[in-house]
Symmetry: C2
DNA sequence: CCCGATCGTTACGGGTCCGTATCATTATCG
DNA sequence: CGATAATGATACGGACCCGTAACGATCGGG
């Protein structure tokens, strides 16, 4: 069941959501941070630094730094993997789940407003 | 004619597009830069620094800096308004129009892939 | 055991962006 | 004219992120 949307509608949707994200005053997430956050919350665990780096096509320090920032914002946490202590497992948080849910609602609401463009 | 989309679908769409934007290697635009770019290309001219600042709810230096960057990327240009030389008019470019069109296609393609989530 | 491989982190130099304050230029109006 | 207002740009100190390279900790095979 594909989602029906035309490029002109997609662009209006993209603009409206970004306008809201800018206007709400909270710190904007970069594209990389957004991709990481949504991957952790939408894909099945476990999530590791290396795995995220591979999925995004970026280097590991990029992931480490993004996790520092997202962790500081309370949107996710890190935990040592006790089975293989070299690994770090990225875990979800309540605040992160709420933020992701808000984003989903935001996109959905703006989609509703967009008529035949 | 509202666009039908559920939050879970919206989130998967948001993730997929951001993954592509990260992976394509080109410099990521910030949320502010994206909002400015799409406003210039979707809303009727003329566009001024002050007008954009008001629409985004940010200060004028934020717009000036974003225009510096977007201009350096060739996505838009500035021109003095000859009728009131205090104003600067932001204009579209061919490269910018192509980039916006690509974004619209990107969102549309991923929307097609998203089934009943 | 020990050596190599793997994991995530840190260090470094450079670039970009932030918010606030200030600036030069131009227009407006008494 | 001259004073005031408005516009966009610039200066500044601080924060964040980048890519590359190196690092310490941990695992695993000979």
């Amino acid at each position: 069941m594909p989602l029906e949307i035309r490029p002109s509608q997609a662009l209006r949707l993209w603009r409206q959501v970004h306008l809201d994200l800018v206007r709400d005053g909270e710190p904007d997430l970069s594209a990389r941070q957004t991709a990481i956050l949504l991957t952790v919350y939408l894909e099945l665990p476990p999530h590791t630094v290396r795995g995220l780096a591979k999925q995004l096509g970026v280097t590991k320090p990029v992931i480490t730094r993004a996790l520092d920032t997202l962790g500081k914002l309370g949107l996710l946490t890190r935990k040592r993997d006790e089975e293989d202590r070299r690994n770090v497992v990225i875990q979800r948080t309540v605040a992160g789940a709420l933020a992701v849910e808000r984003l989903g609602d935001l996109v959905t609401e703006h989609a509703k407003e967009i008529g035949a463009g």
